[in-house]
């Protein structure tokens, strides 16, 4: 079986992978990074999103061998080494932008990419960017709030929910 090497959350990592091994499988099974979740087979749900060379991708729709030599960032690489949550993670907790938490790693990875290129997204931009992340629990409203908080924007009309 070919050996695949990539940089994951800043560390060089190598393991064997078959041709068919998906990046999501490789991260979860070979590297034990189980924060990346798999919620569907058809790249609809977004639970498996990680960053590959600075771009958010669905790791269940990419082969591990395609990531040879790539820089990968997963949910495990978001918090600081001392465990301090990233701004996006902290905003999700603060605004209760999660319930069961299964879609959350993908959401956090998606939002992190969004804020990198759009530091102050409008609500429409937030919706457009998160269209490929399905959450079955929250009704998404608190997720929008979390993105606004993470981008230092006022909640505006959303604040009147409660």
């Amino acid at each position: 079986m070919p050996m695949v090497t990539m940089t994951v959350n800043g560390q060089p990592r190598s393991a064997e992978a078959e041709g068919r091994t998906l990046l999501s499988q490789f991260l979860r099974e070979a590297l034990g990074l189980t924060g990346t979740h798999v919620g569907c087979d058809t790249s609809q749900c977004g639970c498996c999103i990680v960053e590959v060379d600075g771009r958010a991708v669905k790791s269940c729709a990419m082969l591990a061998q395609e990531a040879e030599g790539a820089r990968i960032t997963t949910i495990e690489g978001q918090a600081a080494e001392d465990g301090t949550m990233s701004k996006v993670q902290a905003a999700f907790v603060q605004e209760q932008g999660l319930q069961c938490g299964f879609c959350t790693p993908g959401m956090v990875m998606s939002v992190t990419e969004l804020l990198r290129h759009t530091p102050k997204p409008s609500i429409d931009e937030i919706k457009h960017h998160l269209e490929g992340n399905i959450c079955r629990c929250t009704g998404y409203r608190n997720i929008i709030k979390a993105v606004l908080v993470a981008s230092d924007q006022p909640l505006g009309a959303l604040a009147s929910d409660h």
Binding site: P2, G19, R20, S43, A61, M62, E68, L114
Partner: protein, 265 residues
Amino acid sequence: MHNFEFIRATSVAEAAEILRDDPEAGLLSGGQTLLPTMKQRLAAPSKLVSLTAIEALKGLSQEGDSLTIGGATTHAEVAERAVGIFPGLASLAGRIGDPAVRNRGTIGGSLANNDPAACYPAAALACGAMMVTDRREIPADDYFLGVFETALQDGEILTAVRFPIPEAACYQKFIQPASRFSMVAVFVARFADRVGVAVTGASEDGVFRWAEGEAALGAAFTPDAVQGLSLPETGMITDSFGTGAFRAHLIPVLTARAVTSLTAG
């Protein structure tokens, strides 16, 4: 999925050679459609030859009034880089799937697969784009042969697509709410001497040009020119998301919306 040998090609010639030597080998571009298909075990190639490391297949280049896009260029790159050149196409690319899909999926993959609900085929057909392969050039009108069928021969690699840049273009997409593919989508491209209108998502035969709409808009580029037209529902897809009649109905409606958006203000 079934196992296969993964090969990262470094040149088109290398990829072509592998395909020539092994008829069971397949091409992998962004993989956003192919990998889900293989998980359903609907495709089982012996080898997958990845094209995404071939630099010659990537990027956009403008020459005069045409825009050439390498086959392995992602939707995200087209969305970002075509904005100033061909905004209608950039807008289409920015609405394929979702951001993560756009970061991997490629224009060549989309056009080679020719999913009946894919977005790019509508733009290519409406514009009369030229499909550039490692063997020849194929005009769009001769390229799209039906659902998941193209004029590509076994082992032929789509290396680029060359769009004549229209004066104005607009893509109106009515999404299928589960897949986020188009349920019906219309690409309207206005050139100095003609108007192209192509429809994806609607027909059982895949993407098609709406000749009556093109003629009407060629005569008068106004929403009213197409609003009264109708298409037969025969041959339109009926599924749980929409009837054939509904899809047929949407085509002039979306076409008129596109014209409105191009002529407003």
